[in-house]
Symmetry: D2
Subunit: 474 residues, 4 copies
């Protein structure tokens, strides 16, 4: 699916269909950033109709190789299909063996090829003559509970699918008809259309409007002018949904909308909550630019301290080739930032960071601030410590690398050189995330709107607590 | 297999194995010439042991795409296999449907992926625990009679296979132990080894010696120090072998050895035979450089005329970008050659070409010679006219494009502007090719050596006569 | 000189000297960004000693061509010299004719080659045997009053020169000796050294400390361990210095220091001043990210309104290749930003911009905010309108393109769709810039420190008022 | 000048003029082969009229750098000039000092910049208002006797100049008017024009006809429709012309014409002469492909032995990256050739080479032939041994590297492993070169045509004998 964001920088691909023949796919894929992979020429060749799916890869499992580039295209008895996938299957190993035992050779280590072959492989249900892709998709969803958000293209249809736990995001945008500069031709249906994306932030830049999320377990059929729900595959009785909380904390762009709320707002609430949980006597509040800025503004506002910048990003960090001598080794992270020393000389600084994962970037920042005149440096982290690996699509360092699992964590302020350091509590994060969702749900209850389609709402906080939403298989 | 020749310029790939783990393949593939695809860096990464297979692709069927690059690697229940293939299956369409009906999605249009999945797919013969690759290979050979020369790598073994008709070439070379500059260490077995290639000409450039051909239908197992025949799958009763005669005429490098004879020698005999079939009163014999030179020398020698060059290759033909005006359009092929006019001014020239396929390059050459002073230009073609498509691995223009199928063919000399034009007869070509093979066979008969393994010897001349060695399926 | 900033993205070059031979320069230059121009390999070749000068080019006059890349190297009677130059000569045309009349062919249109040939050309003062670079530099400074900041390298000496008006910035940094991780070896003079740069912000990222500015008219000699003032060439009686005010407003990085003050602080003061000059009833203050943020924070603080972000930068703006249809044309600038609509829905927004030059980017931003729910949008611009061209090194659009010179300027709010729009006054800008300089000067007067070296302090505001610090020649 | 041949592979450049303004030159230059340097895009930008000069650089003096790329363009008082130069000045050092003493900084080490600045520098003869390029060119020719062939472009005129000794080649071709396919429009003067090139072989590939050589010392003015001799600068009394004999032996393409004769014919005569000087009992004559082929055919014909190929070129020699082990080191040159062993097994081979310079490539070839079955290998070299450096434009190895100056030369056959080795005599070479020139001259004498313009004819054989045509200066 279209996930043209910073996270997917490893490879990029687009497959287009002429919408008629099941053989006439155009494919262009390559390693690297989108702007590197696609030239004017390659885009022209792809431009066969107004139908296509794309993907940018952010490697979690699977080796970094061109073979692993998505979308995957295979020819089946019923013509070609193209599949784009975000997520990671929790029972991939078992499913791979199952397919190989049946005689299918797998050419990559990626879950996305696995899903594609599972869709191709599913024995024809009644006879050979019809493909019944919905039956095949449901079959797949019964084989593997999470995590995946999928796009499947066949002829002139795109199926958008989100796993029953809703672990990975997926949403739909609408291309409203446009007229000319004078507004004429706004009824021209040729300019209408639908787009699907992991993050809604991508819609604005192509002139589309946010329409709605694909629901957990939902199978949506998208054709030229229509968006149609074909089915909603339920979770096991009693299981809550499990949207990845890390998308709010770090991964998503601040202007994206998940579950009816803007990511920026959640992050600001985290900052406010942090000010309540861990206030501090200081002269100013600042941010590690740029991802922590919403939390920093929330913190400053809640505790009534002035907000000011103390660091500016150095956009032109050169690569260090030659003789990384003592001086350059000691510089470390400092090369990435400029210091606005006049803003904090002789002052007590509260510095908000969005997360401290390995703990090796915050420490030189603190050193930098002190050397430039900060009187005190208090660190407040707008998320809880990460302690456990993710098996559902987020690339988290090994347990051993996580600062929260190291002995130094017990005296963290001292280790990183801060006057104090406090993380947001798990409860604080969850309430910051769920506060407005619950408010809206209650409101909907009053209005007796259809809430049954989503069921019980929860979030995957496995990386914080080790409690995974489904059993992991090996 | 290693086919590092001019013919395979579309893509290149190498897969290496560490010889122990069935998972530890290293793969590097890319579009374009070898020197473009492989850098020092990529080769270093491939260098995990002394075991690997490579491939350069010359597209016949299948679109030109990275996906089609060989060798193909798939993971099976018994570990990874890598397959390199030269040839084209005559019953590919039926085999593709068979696989897809079984639920295997095919990700490319290439026969090579088809072969790889057929090898992976074959139901385990007795149980799951052993792979029995020889049984799988024989199964594959029973499914499809021709044409293929294959390398299959699994762990520390490479299987080399040639189809029962021997349509595509395949031969084995031997890396003899080397010592240092003073000859010391020549008994060092570490420097021994075996190589397999489509053409023997590649052996010299890596310091290997020609050892022998893989026989039609033969399955050879190649390990660190041994080459061992596992089986020879026979042809149907009465069928002769069908090595591609076009390899002799045009495709192979002149220093390659097929069926015990050097390609250069065959081409020279073709020139001699042509001099017998179509002599001409003239002052000199020359060549369209460079592939027709052996035939031209043979022709000149047989008819007692002096041989001299009339054209030299212009190695630095620029691309014509801007405004291909009348002048440049009229230049055409002339840009590719320099004219050695002093060598033929006022003289009658016999110009030998290796083949006239479409007929659109010889005509401007004749014009060029006449404008530069040639009194007469007689064309002699060292092969018969090509009239039929090839379905076994040679990329031949469509029937409509072949000059031999056009009306103009009936007055070809006039059409191309020559004083006369004569092709070699089919019989003349076949006898030039088979003459020394038959002599050797008779000799071997006298010596009662084992000739049964090869059976009746013939050659595929389908592109000349339309008689294909096996029935074609669609 | 080292000017490794965003402004100089057109080309980059480095010249190093081995410090002994006047012939042994190493040169590497190329078009494009530094990371594109320099590879590990090219840097290794440059690494002949610890002496060198570099340059990144931001084109003002002179065509964009490799030939124009700096530093310029020429061989003179006294060996090779390398020159890096920032600025633009106000009497270049006359100087070019003078040189050409003397018989020197000029190979580029750049002022930097002109300066280099003027330095080479100057007739030897007494005899041929000594170069006397200082005399030549003074000669050059007498020929052309402004604007230039220069580095001249010869053998083991670098001369740093700033024109008498100090129009372009130039400052010196100090590499303090470093020890190992334990602080040992801090007395190792090998790790000492000096660096010169247009902007002090570059020092931090190479581990250097800000030392001081080069004064207007000053010629500084930099050798291995010493920095020495050789001379200070005075301005004509009564002329004030004329440092470019646009460096404060827009051009420089916020963490750079000019005339003893941080650029960020000046920008914040501009925002505060703007709040005094043009207050507005509103619910929130925000910024056009990222350059207007200091002014926005200053404005918000001064008028007591909350500061919040309304736009986020879209870092992965794709190029639009195909069919820039009506939709994409209408998107325009919107593609560059994400909208944080929850932050301002239904609210009155004061949006601070750092400058409005052509007026074609602010208008779609306002439209975007309104469509996303802003009730009112008031624009406050933290600099005065630009009305005049710069002939001293800043690339400003033509007079016709400047919004302040268009008829629409008289009803600008209406033209750009804002509820109100107010620019900072020229006096407001000048006082924001000079406030702390004057305070410090007065303080120094009390302390009787040497103020004579700088003379009367002024700033070049020609682009705002049309009053140029020197007479322009054509 | 246009020298688009294999020899100039280091860099390439084109400068075009719109023919009206003296400022409107378009320039594109770059390192590497023409096809690498020029894209469709860059050529389009150059296409401003039908006037331009180009150059490909083959480095002799001067470092390999973009700065040294030709043509050189400089602006003078009288507008821009572009200069392309082939050759090397024998008094460059003195001229450089002269220019630098006058105050001109030289930005490269190339003679071509030196020539360009000398043309720009020459003091205006009477007044400033006219350039008088012919006077400047003659001035230059008086300053430096050899070696240079030059093109100078100014506005709509190109001046073609050859030094008085005629050391480097230069010839003129004519673009005859072309009509359409039916011959209509052949009187269209728009398609007429003139081209100048180092070698006539380049004319055919652009549809031009050979017209004539530029004479030694001649200054030719080329405009849209005319070619006009402006002057012929004479040599010192008694000096013969000194065209480089190495052009015939090795450097030029065989289809080029110098001094009225085709290079191929000269080479064939060298082979014939060699057969007379050094006959040998053998079974066949062959060539080291491809440059020695004309000589080999001449040798074979003269001594009545059959000619056959023994080596074929391996066009796809890979780079050897990894672990150049003993095997690959021993392979050496063998990688470049395929061996046609059936052609010489058990036979006595005479192998003709065009020159043996360092002696390190012929030795492995001989070894290869012997190992492949040659009974005897006799080497005949179609040129005399090279013993002295060239200071006039040919890149010859240092004296120490030349095999003819090594002790091993006295027993060369033994050293390279040949049964015998004989070089052509200097007299034999000179007579092969001059035979037909003298015949033609005598013929012209009878006809009383104007021979005075060329004067006494000789050739530069300095690399063979150490006698240089002019005194060398340092």
């Amino acid at each position: 699916m279209k996930r043209f964001l910073s996270r997917g920088q490893e490879s990029a691909g687009i497959v287009t269909s002429d919408g008629e023949s099941a053989q006439a796919f155009k494919v262009h894929k390559g390693m690297g950033l989108i702007n590197h992979v696609f030239s004017e020429d390659s885009l022209k060749k792809l431009y066969v109709s107004n139908l296509g799916i794309g993907h940018t890869r952010y490697s979690t499992s699977g080796i970094s190789e061109l073979q692993n580039c998505q979308p995957f295209v295979v020819e089946t008895l019923h013509g070609k299909i193209a599949v784009a996938h975000n997520g990671e299957l929790t029972n991939a190993v078992r499913l791979r063996r199952k397919l190989m035992r049946h005689g299918v050779g797998l050419s990559t280590s990626s879950d996305s090829e696995l899903i594609t072959q599972l869709l191709a492989f599913t024995p024809p249900l009644e006879n050979d003559d019809t493909a019944d892709w919905v039956a095949r998709i449901k079959n797949l969803m019964n084989e593997t509970p999470t995590s995946y958000s999928l796009l499947l293209m066949h002829k002139d249809i795109i199926y958008a699918v989100r796993d029953p736990y809703g672990n990975r995001p997926l949403c739909i945008g609408r291309l409203v008809p446009v007229g000319d500069m004078n507004g004429k031709g706004k009824d021209n249906r040729e300019t209408e259309g639908w787009v699907v994306s992991s993050e809604s932030c991508s819609f604005l830049s192509i002139g589309a409007e946010y329409y709605r999320e694909v629901l957990p377990g939902e199978i949506v059929k998208i054709s030229r002018y229509d968006v149609q729900t074909l089915d909603v595959v339920p979770r096991p009785e009693g299981d809550a949904s499990a949207f990845c909380i890390f998308e709010y904390v770090y991964f998503a762009r601040p202007d994206s909308i998940f579950e009816g709320q803007m990511v920026y707002s959640v992050r600001r609430r985290c900052g406010q909550q942090l000010a309540i949980e861990a206030p501090v006597e200081a002269d100013l509040v600042s941010t590690v630019p740029e991802s922590a800025t919403p939390a920093a503004l929330g913190f400053a506002q809640k505790c009534g301290l002035p907000y000011i910048e103390v660091l500016c990003k150095n956009r032109y960090v050169g690569r260090t080739f030659i003789q990384p001598n003592m001086r350059l080794r000691q510089l470390g992270v400092a090369k990435k930032f400029g210091v606005l020393s006049d803003n904090f000389k002789g002052k007590r600084v509260v510095l908000i960071d969005d997360s401290i994962v390995r703990g090796n970037t915050i420490s030189p920042i603190i050193k930098l601030l002190r050397e430039s005149g900060a009187k005190e440096v208090h660190i407040r982290v707008a998320s809880p410590p990460i302690r456990f690996p993710c098996y559902m699509g987020i690339n988290i360092p090994t347990k051993e690398e996580l600062i929260a699992n190291k002995p130094e964590f017990h005296d963290l302020a001292n280790y990183i050189g801060a006057d104090s350091v406090v993380y947001l509590s798990v409860e604080g994060l969850v309430s910051s995330v769920q506060e407005s969702i619950k408010a809206r749900q209650e409101n909907e209850n009053h209005l007796k709107t259809n809430k049954s389609r989503v069921g019980k709402i929860g979030h995957c906080i496995a990386c914080l607590t080790g409690e995974y939403p489904v059993e992991l298989e090996w």
